[in-house]
């Protein structure tokens, strides 16, 4: 008779131990998964440097960054990044001119002047625009924007920095609008009511109170849109004509850093100098977007703290 309780107690103990073991294993797995993002981000940086090392050693990062000519298959081979960097800046510059005013204007209207049903509807519109793959934007650009730019500005070719920038600006709109709208939405209503009570008009309230209060979030939205524009590959590859020369205006063909990697990686010898140079381009690209995203993230974090109570 004394056997049963002991047996039961033993089993209970076994189950408790097992549960504790499961708990410990799960905990370890979850912590490991949690840290994975740090590992991957670090691995990306490390492998870019590792693969770029050969070109940095043979040519020198300063030589590449200051070189004005890109002839990867010429004799002598010239790997100057400046035409690519200027190309990226030209395309991104046009995109900024498109997405900053339209993006901020649209988010102000959605957040401040529209009814609930309209906000919901706009959410679907933005989601749709964000869901369309970049290669489709590129294809639409080839079919519609290239002929339009060619005809409107009477150019010999419609493949220009302007073409790429226009499409890129539209592609960045969902990012800019959703983040700016969140920032405007997070401004406490008390501020709006206070301003209206002081006799300000609706627009004065928006312009003098709401937008300045949300400015850091709007700034973060613009930065993230900028990061997206700089890092975008397919659309610019299809639209800018990819001439690796220093442009003198946005009506000329340019070649971006992303486009160069995508276009040339298929033709290089793996492990060779050209391969390594393309990783150096990737490293520069990674550094630029990393800084932009870091800035956006720090600003967003500050904003989150400000309105927490």
């Amino acid at each position: 008779m004394a056997v049963t309780p002991t047996h039961k107690a033993g089993r209970r103990l076994g189950r408790a131990t097992r549960r504790r073991a499961v708990e410990a294993v799960v905990r370890t797995l979850i912590y490991a998964a949690g840290l994975l993002s740090i590992v991957i981000l670090a691995a990306i940086a490390i492998f870019l440097v590792v693969e770029a090392r050969q070109s940095i050693g043979e040519i020198g990062l300063d030589k590449m960054l200051s070189g004005t000519q890109w002839f990867p298959t010429g004799t002598p081979k010239l790997f100057g990044f400046l035409p690519l960097i200027v190309g990226t800046l030209a395309v991104t510059g046009v995109a900024v001119v498109v997405f900053v005013p339209i993006g901020i204007g649209a988010s102000v209207f959605i957040s401040e002047f529209s009814a609930g049903w309209f906000k919901e509807g706009m959410k679907s519109v933005i989601e749709f625009m964000a869901a369309v793959p970049s290669v489709v934007y590129g294809f639409l650009g080839v079919a519609v924007v290239i002929p339009w730019v060619k005809a409107t500005f009477s150019l010999t070719s419609g493949m220009t920095a302007l073409t790429g920038g226009l499409v890129l600006g539209i592609m960045s709109l969902p990012t800019v609008i959703s983040i700016s709208e969140d920032a405007l939405h997070a401004v406490p209503d008390a501020l709006r009511q206070g301003s209206l009570a002081l006799g300000n008009t609706r627009w004065q309230t928006v312009y003098k109170v709401v937008v300045p209060s949300a400015s850091s979030g709007i700034f973060a939205g613009v930065m993230l849109g900028l990061g997206r524009a700089i890092g975008e590959t397919m659309a610019v590859l299809m639209l800018t004509g990819n001439a690796a020369v220093m442009p003198t205006s946005v009506f000329e063909s340019v070649r971006t850093m992303t486009g160069t990697i995508a276009a040339e990686m298929g033709e290089v010898v793996y492990g060779g100098q050209h391969y390594s140079v393309l990783f150096s381009v990737g490293l520069v690209l990674f550094a630029i977007t990393f800084l932009i995203n870091l800035a956006a993230d720090l600003v967003l974090e500050r904003q989150r703290k400000r309105w927490r109570r």
């Binding site: 708990e23 797995l29 949690g34 840290l35 959605i110 002047f113 990783f279």
Partner: protein, 272 residues
């Protein structure tokens, strides 16, 4: 000024309608059962896109198998386990930054690590691993958000009944957050399905008439195929190119719209 900001919104809506309308009007006439279920012929200028659709589905499925366990566990870490310290702050910063790394840089990383270093070659597996890295931040963020919407009363009730921490998460919190996690995952994977640059350098084939037979074979994929048709092959009949674009956009956006709509319905239905 309301007019000016309204004009901006009108421009955005106009752009969205134009994109949708153009693709539907130009793409729909090219769609037929034969187009969807036959192989491309005549140097991709005729025939259908069956191997391309299958390749895309295989790539996305493999990516899902790899990314979902990792992303959901990392989301659980952030919402349920993470202490408020420097490490957690670093994890959050890494996730935010991963989301901003250009997709072609993921391609470079995948090429160096999965294709060359690990010797998977240009393959479905190498591409899926690359897309796993790219999609991870999206899955983590949406999982964390879904878990945070579960009120802490539920957790405390489970713990008060004697459940261990993992048991309360596994049996109570996760089921309650499931709709949010599922829709977030679908949205993330549908974005991955449309990515071109990372698969361009890690395994997508220009032309490969047969279906991939293992995870180490190359494959054709819708976004890359659209790029090829639009820029690399001369004299492709427009209905083939537009039809491909239609299938890609219809697939990706239908899935995301349904997932998004279902999520907002769930949010309204469940009031904690």
């Amino acid at each position: 000024m309301k007019v000016v900001t309204g004009a901006c919104v009108a421009l955005v809506i106009g752009a969205a309608i134009f994109i949708l309308g153009k693709i539907v009007i130009s793409g729909l006439p090219g769609i037929s059962l034969e187009f969807l279920f036959s192989k491309p012929g005549m140097g991709m200028r005729a025939g259908g896109i069956f191997p391309i659709i299958v390749g895309t589905l295989m790539l996305v499925t493999l990516t899902a198998v790899l990314v979902l366990p990792l992303g959901i566990m990392a989301g659980i870490y952030l919402a349920e386990y993470a202490p408020k310290n420097l490490v957690t702050r670093l994890v959050r910063l890494s996730i935010a930054n991963m989301a901003g790394v250009p997709s072609i840089v993921y391609g470079l990383f995948g090429l160096a690590v999965f294709v060359l270093l690990m010797q998977f070659g240009k393959s479905l597996l190498a591409s899926a691993l690359t897309l796993t890295c790219l999609t991870l931040p999206v899955i983590i963020t949406s999982t964390e958000e879904a878990l945070r919407q579960v009120p802490s009363d539920l957790r405390q009730a489970a713990l008060a009944l004697g459940a261990t921490r993992w048991r309360s998460i596994h049996k109570v919190v996760l089921p309650a957050a499931a709709p949010g996690i599922v829709t977030g995952s679908i949205l993330g994977l549908s974005r991955a399905a449309g990515e071109t640059a990372p698969i361009l350098v890690t395994g997508a084939a220009f032309f490969l008439p047969k279906l991939p037979d293992s995870v180490s074979s190359q494959y054709m994929s819708l976004p890359y195929h659209l790029y090829v048709l639009a820029t690399q092959v001369p004299n492709v009949p427009p209905e083939v190119t537009w039809g491909t674009a239609f299938v890609l956009v219809a697939g990706v956006s239908t899935v995301s719209m349904i997932a998004g709509a279902w999520r907002s319905v769930q949010r309204r239905k469940v009031k904690w």
